[in-house]
């Protein structure tokens, strides 16, 4: 039976590939730069040094065993579009810290695994990293579900857990979790009010408002508040200000047909449209509205993929929230500019179309800074010592400024979000005034 034999050989080949892969089992992906450094033991690079990504002079090597920092990211699966950003930023951070002498004089190694955007994989991977690979430190994954699952594991083993953009703030009460996403504990209240303040700073107040919300835990939380509490969210806060809510619809995360939603928005015709969306939700909706010849008089979207929106016809004037943008006054700090440049390059290498640093990349960098400063501040890798040090001293970060951790606020700080708007085909921070780009302010004319 010739046919059978052919397939047996194919099977053998396939399995041989597996054997080759299995033989690598137990090793980690290595993202370190070669061990050349400039000044061993120094923690911060002096301001204004031009630190090229490739070191030139052969300095002293960071000695001792490398410090292994374990973590996962959504490198595949439906969160991968943003996971890739965190991967690039992390690699830049690790390269840079190694060039500057490593952490506590030792080289840093990032053991990064893929959780496939699935929380159960994240949980298993962190257990593996901590108990089998025995990493020294951990850093959080991307995506609320993954962060939640990983945090539970970190808590079980007492590891300091810095993480970035977990949106369900109320759920995190591990004593040693440190969020780098500076929205404070009640983003469902502070974020919408920031947006409404920004709108009103234009001199115009919307009479009617419409809500189109993605049925995703984070966006639902911001829009409606925490289930089982009276707190409410964007919708309730709008009503408190006297805006009339003329539309309030929720759409499934995997929506395929935007036309009915666009029709409903056009029908309700609100003075302002609040899109509680992620990724390309806003782009798709705007395109669908353009197709029926409708342009809302004002728009906001929660957590968009910033690049696609710039390209979308009809998206001019849409607002969103951010922590950092690549223009003054944020770029007044030369180190911020330098690091942003490194990140731009890394993102471009990774094939990401939009390479500017904004919320995700900034939050990612800051989480790494927490870990670095905690270890250096405590002088050791002892988890409790690091945790205590951070709680007592806070962190001095490049993109977020000085951060403190309020235990009574579940280690959250205050809401540092700013409002940005697409003007003349680019994103600019427009509110609050002290952070607005030069000569830019909120444009809203209903």
């Amino acid at each position: 039976m010739r046919r059978q034999r052919r397939w047996r050989y194919l099977t053998v080949l396939a399995v041989l590939a597996l054997v080759a892969a299995a033989c690598d089992g137990g090793e980690s992906t290595d993202t370190t730069a070669p061990g050349d450094t400039e000044a061993p033991g120094s923690t911060e690079a002096p301001e204004g040094t031009d630190a090229p990504t490739e070191t030139t002079a052969a300095g002293e090597e960071a000695d001792g065993d490398p410090i292994r920092i374990g973590g996962t990211l959504a490198l595949t699966g439906f969160l991968a579009a943003t996971g890739v950003i965190h991967q690039a930023v992390g690699e830049v951070f690790v390269d840079r810290i190694n060039e500057q002498g490593g952490l506590l004089g030792r080289e840093v190694e990032w053991v990064l695994l893929d959780d496939e955007s699935l929380p159960e994989n994240a949980a298993a991977a962190y257990e593996r990293l901590i108990t089998e690979d025995e990493v020294d430190l951990v850093i959080g994954p991307y995506g609320t579900g993954n962060i939640t699952a990983a945090m539970a594991v970190a808590e079980r083993y007492g590891y300091v857990f810095p993480h970035h953009t977990a949106s369900l703030t109320y759920a995190y009460n591990y004593a040693c979790h440190f969020s780098s996403w500076s929205t404070g504990l009640h983003p469902n209240i502070t974020n919408p009010n920031l947006v409404y303040d920004a709108i009103e700073s234009s001199g115009n107040t919307p009479e009617t408002i419409g809500f189109v919300i993605n049925e995703f835990p984070g966006t639902m939380f911001i829009a409606y508040g925490q289930e089982g509490t009276d707190e409410g969210g964007a919708v309730a806060e709008a009503e408190k200000r006297g805006y009339e809510v003329v539309l309030d619809i929720t759409f499934p995360t995997a929506i395929t047909d935007w036309a009915p939603v666009a029709a409903q928005v056009a029908d309700a015709d609100p003075d302002f449209l609040y899109i509680g969306g992620l990724g390309v939700n806003a782009s798709q909706l705007i395109t669908a509205m353009q197709a029926i010849d409708y342009t809302p008089r004002g728009m906001f979207t929660q957590w968009p993929a910033p690049g696609p929106l710039l390209d979308t016809e009809g998206a001019d004037g849409i607002m969103s929230v951010t922590i950092f943008e690549e223009h003054p006054p944020f770029t007044d700090d030369p180190e911020a500019v330098e690091v942003a440049g490194l990140i731009n390059e890394a993102l471009a290498d990774a094939g990401v179309p939009y390479t500017k640093v904004e919320t995700q990349a900034a939050a990612s960098w800051t989480a790494w800074e927490y870990l670095q400063q905690a270890a250096e501040g405590a002088g050791s890798l002892d988890q409790q010592a690091m945790c205590d040090w951070l709680l007592e001293n806070g962190a001095d970060t490049l993109f977020h400024g000085d951060i403190e951790f309020y235990p009574e606020e579940q280690n959250y700080f205050v809401d540092l979000s700013k409002v940005k708007q697409i003007q003349d085909g680019e994103w600019y921070v427009v509110y609050p005034e002290e952070y607005a780009a030069p000569d830019r302010s909120v444009v809203y004319n209903p």
């Binding site: 397939w7 579009a81 036309a259 029709a263 979308t312 179309p353």
Partner: protein
């Protein structure tokens, strides 16, 4: 603007796109007895290729059809040859094509990353364009898909009923051995049909690239809609697929407008279940291929 009317109209048009997406699976299943899940990744792969060709060569996206459609015709033909060599049956085809689907998805993610890809309004003039009739908007991308689906449905129907090739296909669908006994080159018929199916899927991909932002996870979100249309329309029945597409699209569209967007997927799947249970042979026919 009448909200319900607008919802129904856009629903009907997107139903055309759904029909186009379903033709590949429907024809494979009905005529070739292969449940080909790989078609989902063909649609997406075609969309990515359209995106890449448009952006790299800065041409009108519709022009890329000249390359993409013949390419997928060849791919489809090769696939059928492969199936013939390994002697596939209906049961195994589910598993094997699922495997191919996963491989292609992974390749697409490796090449284009998981990030969102959009052609951009500079090169894509169709994206938010539409035609207005009596105050109701007909969005361009789905309208083009609808017209294409209409032409193909009618064309295939004529081909299958009037031409020699069509008769051969129907013979193979009914009883392959008998067809062979009567001198039909069943292999050639199967290969050509498979090529056509893949080309139809590729065409759907063209309109998707023109009308939407694409990313790897998109393919899985089509499963429910496509199977609803395939079953409701009747296996291998192209006019049936168009009708079913229109029904599914307009029902989902109306549901979204009346009860909110969350209701739309529920309606789609309930239609699928109803179709499976009460009319698995499809709405318009009692035979498998017509």
């Amino acid at each position: 603007m009448d909200l319900l009317a607008q919802g129904l109209v856009t629903g009907v048009l997107i139903g055309g796109l759904y029909a186009l997406m379903s033709l590949g699976v429907s024809l494979s299943w009905g005529a070739l007895k292969i449940i080909n899940l790989a078609h989902f990744s063909f649609i997406l792969l075609s969309a990515y290729l359209v995106y890449q060709l448009t952006v790299s060569f800065e041409v009108d996206p519709l022009l890329t059809m000249v390359v993409v459609l013949p390419l997928f015709f060849v791919v489809g033909s090769l696939m059928q040859i492969f199936f013939h060599i390994v002697n596939i049956d209906e049961f195994k085809s589910l598993i094997v094509t699922f495997g191919i689907f996963i491989i292609l998805q992974s390749l697409m993610q490796t090449i284009w990353s998981a990030d969102f890809r959009r052609i951009g309004s500079g090169l894509n003039s169709y994206e938010s364009g539409s035609i207005f009739i009596g105050g109701i908007a007909l969005p361009l991308p789905s309208m083009m898909a609808f017209i294409a689906a209409l032409i193909i449905a009618i064309g295939m129907s004529l081909l299958l009923s009037r031409s020699y090739f069509g008769k051969a296909v129907r013979a193979v669908a009914q009883d392959e051995e008998m067809a062979r006994a009567f001198g039909v080159d069943t292999n050639r018929v199967a290969v050509i049909l498979s090529g056509l199916s893949a080309a139809f899927s590729a065409l759907a991909g063209v309109f998707i690239a023109v009308g939407q932002t694409i990313f790897p996870g998109l393919a899985v979100s089509w499963f429910g809609v496509v199977f609803s249309v395939v079953i409701l329309g009747g296996l291998g029945h192209t006019v049936g697929a168009l009708t079913a597409g229109v029904i599914v699209g307009s029902a989902a569209g109306a549901a979204a407008v009346l009860w909110g967007p969350l209701a739309a997927p529920l309606v789609t799947f309930l239609i699928l279940i109803a179709a499976l249970l009460f009319r698995p042979q499809g709405l318009l026919t009692s035979r498998s291929v017509a």
